[in-house]
């Protein structure tokens, strides 16, 4: 079955997650993604090549679990762009590619000799999408980032926390994932524009711009109402104001570090929670309507916690769900990956085969297509694993020429 994007070829300079996550989506849908790495740096363009977790005791650039996860279904080639022959081969590759994608720091592609103008001279309708923390223009263009810095500057870290505490932030690089999603969106939209008009273009993606756009209502509140910047200790993101709900929170349950999330959307949910809990306090007239509950959130949280504390988190959530109230156990990785019937039924954890690591489970996609569904079978590429396939099969070099290029340090 052809993939939705089997007709596309991506010349891929991305790395880590913010870039690799974008081309990963395209590769799973059938695009031929050719990942270019530097033979001299031996994989160090992407720090994740050697980072934990590892499948066993082996270490090195072919054993990084994150790299494998983020680069499934891609081809990997090596190309030394310090050499004229290396640059020539890249030009040949760009000439037959639809997209060039990269997430280096601003200015790196120009220094390599392959900024947008150079790419466009090779192929007039090329789609070039760059992705970096602060974009390619603006006072901070040379600043360096990774997920946590993007999240801090764009306002997302601040918006995650409990009262009287410093910001909790995000316990993972939400904006590396999400920067990758915006990069994939940008690539696909630019291709749509090309289909319609014949024009290629450069898209300058700044992860902090994308991050800031994810707090839209709060930005408007500041701009429209002149709302003063709140104190960090006033944030309570386990509660809900959009829309207002109460009780709404993460409550302790039986077991060590076990928690259950509960959201009463409306008066009906509240009454149903009271029934399910069999609690007298739930019949208190003060709590019957939303305004009363919002005025007594601390008190409500203590009452709800009193009920959840002695219960298993899954049992508590199931009892509330049976009454139609949104509730869910805060799942540990093992619970959601190996015990949640929904992720299994979806096929969310496909097994890929990596040349060195063997069979490894990876993140699947949270979308299914009725006609052209995704596929993940091949693990992330080893360094230069597909040199023959790409330089031979695609660019027509013979085995002797490839061997000579390898000997000369071009590949």
């Amino acid at each position: 079955m052809p993939g939705a994007l089997s007709h596309l070829r991506i010349c891929d300079f991305t790395g880590q997650l913010a870039g690799a996550g974008a081309t990963r989506f395209l590769a799973a849908l059938g695009a031929q993604v050719i990942r270019i790495e530097d033979p001299v740096a031996q994989g160090r363009w992407d720090i994740l090549r050697g980072m934990p977790p590892f499948v066993d005791e082996r270490r090195g650039v072919e054993f990084g679990g994150p790299f494998n996860n983020h680069n499934v279904e891609k081809l990997g080639v090596t190309l030394n762009l310090r050499t004229e022959r290396g640059r020539e081969l890249l030009r040949a590759l760009v000439a037959i590619s639809d997209v060039v994608a990269e997430n280096f720091s601003a200015g790196v592609m120009e220094r390599l000799g392959f900024g947008y103008e150079a790419l466009r001279a090779i192929r007039g309708d090329i789609v070039y999408v760059s992705n970096c923390g602060f974009g390619h223009e603006g006072p901070y263009r040379d600043f360096k980032t990774w997920g946590p810095i993007v999240q801090a500057v764009s306002g997302l870290t601040f918006s995650s926390g409990l009262p009287g505490q410093p910001p909790a932030g995000w316990g993972y690089s939400y904006m590396d994932h999400t920067g990758g999603y915006y990069m994939a969106i940008a690539i696909l939209m630019a291709l749509r524009h090309r289909n319609r008009t014949g024009e290629g273009q450069w898209v300058d993606l700044s992860c902090t711009d994308a991050g800031a756009s994810l707090s839209g209502p709060a930005l408007l509140d500041a701009a429209v109402n002149g709302r003063a910047t709140p104190d960090a200790g006033a944030v309570h993101s386990n509660r809900s104001r959009q829309p207002p709900m109460a009780p709404h929170g993460v409550y302790p349950s039986r077991g060590e570090d076990d928690w259950v999330a509960i959201a009463c959307r409306d008066d009906r949910d509240w009454a149903a929670l009271g029934e399910a809990a069999g609690a007298d306090w739930a019949r208190d007239a003060r709590f019957a309507a939303l305004d009363g509950r919002l005025a007594a959130e601390d008190e409500l949280d203590a009452l709800v916690a009193g009920w959840t504390r002695t219960r298993d988190k899954f049992a508590a959530a199931a009892a509330l769900q049976a009454a139609g109230v949104p509730a869910a156990a805060v799942q540990r990785p093992q619970e959601r990956i190996d015990r949640d019937p929904n992720t299994a039924a979806w096929g969310l954890w496909p097994t890929v085969t990596h040349r060195e690591m063997g069979e490894v489970r990876v993140d699947g996609l949270p979308v299914h297509f009725s006609e052209t569904d995704w596929r993940m079978e091949r693990g992330g590429p080893c360094l230069g694993e597909h040199n023959e396939e790409v330089f031979g099969g695609l660019l027509g070099l013979n085995a002797d020429e490839i061997a000579a290029l390898r000997a000369e340090g071009v590949l």
């Binding site: 995650s160 409990l162 524009h193 898209v203 756009s213 408007l220 999330a261 805060v330």
Partner: protein, 410 residues
């Protein structure tokens, strides 16, 4: 006027909060998005914050934000006449985006199969909390419960595990579902450009959260290890050092990756010197030692006591500087010296930041119904030839009924 990348694309949006961002992302790039609301209006119109803090169907800033560039019509889908209008809208559309459709609508001929039979090129994107026909599809869900069941909540919170884990703010669970809806819709559209064939895309918000937790997921998949939450930094299998510091002005900064290598130590010494703080920082001699260490092999840290002391002094110096400077000065002063550090901004602060302003991030949107204009969050990406642009403010309730219904009849 320059056209957006999705000019000419006809989209019908019948969405609750799971899909409203997806419609905005398409509309702000030029797609002709018609948002369908019930006669009493989308419930999001009742979400705060409100203009001047006064509730009102046309005053919700959340509704304003999520519905820019869309046209709006009201339909009473309990009535066959209005269902006919919706059917006609979808029959001429390229993309039908749905989430939280009223119960019974699918049975009334609005399932993907029937809709596609009437319009072979149609792309139907259905967003739901747990996916279609999945074991948990019947569960009631909100942003909080999706993120709790899906992994992000486990990853977020504080070193003190007596405090509950935290759901990050801003309804990001809904956002992630919408991001995947747009990615998938566009891929289906490119396939249709090649083949003329539409299809049905099933988007699962719980699965989207599950694959958006980085090491939280792959530590288990690869090595059966469990990450534990930590204050202001990545949840990790092995505890890491704190990276969040309260600055002199009471705001917070992220001290990022500690200095490693002689150049970074030289920059650190220069920074302390410039601020006149070198003498006050007790471990300055160790930093100077760091400038002389040519090999900085972190793998050898455990067996090299001096290197460990130097590395620790570098981290301590970053924390010291952050505590003595205002957060913005620490951020820019550190970054100008090559350190990957950040300021913890509140969401609104991006609008006043010189970098965001220089990039044109804050944009003005006219509200002729109020005779005013307001500053909105701007482009997530800058397209050189087919730009992102807010084409109009969110539709007033039923604002486009007359025009759209007339087009259907014409």
């Amino acid at each position: 006027m320059t056209e957006g990348a999705l000019e000419g694309l006809r989209v019908v949006e019948l969405c609750d909060e799971l899909g409203m961002l997806a419609g905005k992302l398409l509309a702000d790039m030029g797609a002709d998005v018609v948002k369908v609301e019930p006669p009493e209006g989308d419930p999001v119109r009742a979400w705060p914050p409100f203009l001047d803090d006064e509730p009102g169907a046309e005053r919700s800033l959340a509704f304003w934000h999520y519905n820019t560039s869309k046209a709006g019509v009201t339909l009473d889908l309990a009535r066959e006449g209005d269902r006919g209008r919706l059917r006609a809208l979808i029959a001429r559309a390229d993309l039908y985006l749905e989430s939280g459709a009223p119960p019974g609508l699918a049975a009334a001929g609005f399932d993907a199969e029937t809709l596609r039979a009437a319009n072979a090129g149609l792309i139907v994107v259905t967003i739901s909390p747990f996916g279609r026909n999945m074991p948990r599809a019947g569960e009631a869900a909100t942003d909080l419960t999706i993120l709790a069941a899906g992994g992000p909540v486990w990853n977020c919170g504080y070193d003190d595990h007596a405090l509950p884990p935290v759901r990050g703010g801003g309804n990001q669970g809904y956002h992630t579902a919408s991001h995947f809806a747009v990615m998938a819709a566009l891929a289906a559209l490119l396939y249709r450009d090649e083949t003329g064939r539409g299809q049905h895309v099933d988007v699962n918000a719980h699965a989207a959260a599950n694959v958006t937790t980085e090491a939280g997921t792959y530590s288990w998949l690869v090595a059966r290890q469990t990450v534990e939450r930590q204050t202001g930094r990545h949840a990790a299998v092995n505890p890491s050092m704190p990276t969040q510091v309260r600055c002199a002005d009471g705001r917070h900064a992220n001290t990022g990756v500690p200095p490693r290598g002689p150049a970074a130590f030289a920059a650190l010494c220069e920074w302390l010197e410039t601020l006149g703080l070198a003498d006050e920082f007790a471990e300055t001699p160790l930093l100077e030692e760091g400038t002389r260490r040519e090999r900085f092999d972190l793998a050898a840290l455990a067996g090299d006591e001096e290197l460990r002391a130097i590395f620790g002094a570098g981290r301590a110096a970053m924390n010291f500087l952050a505590s003595r400077l205002n957060a913005y000065d620490f951020f820019t002063g550190g970054q100008r010296r090559g350190f990957q550090v950040g300021i913890v901004n509140a969401p609104g602060e991006a609008l006043a930041d010189p970098h965001f302003i220089a990039r044109g991030f804050p944009v003005e949107v006219g509200h002729p119904e109020l005779g005013r204009s307001f500053t909105y969050a701007g482009a997530p990406y800058r397209f050189q030839r087919s730009p992102w642009r807010i084409r109009r403010h969110a539709p007033l309730l039923g604002e486009d009924n007359e025009r759209v219904f007339a087009e259907l009849e014409g």
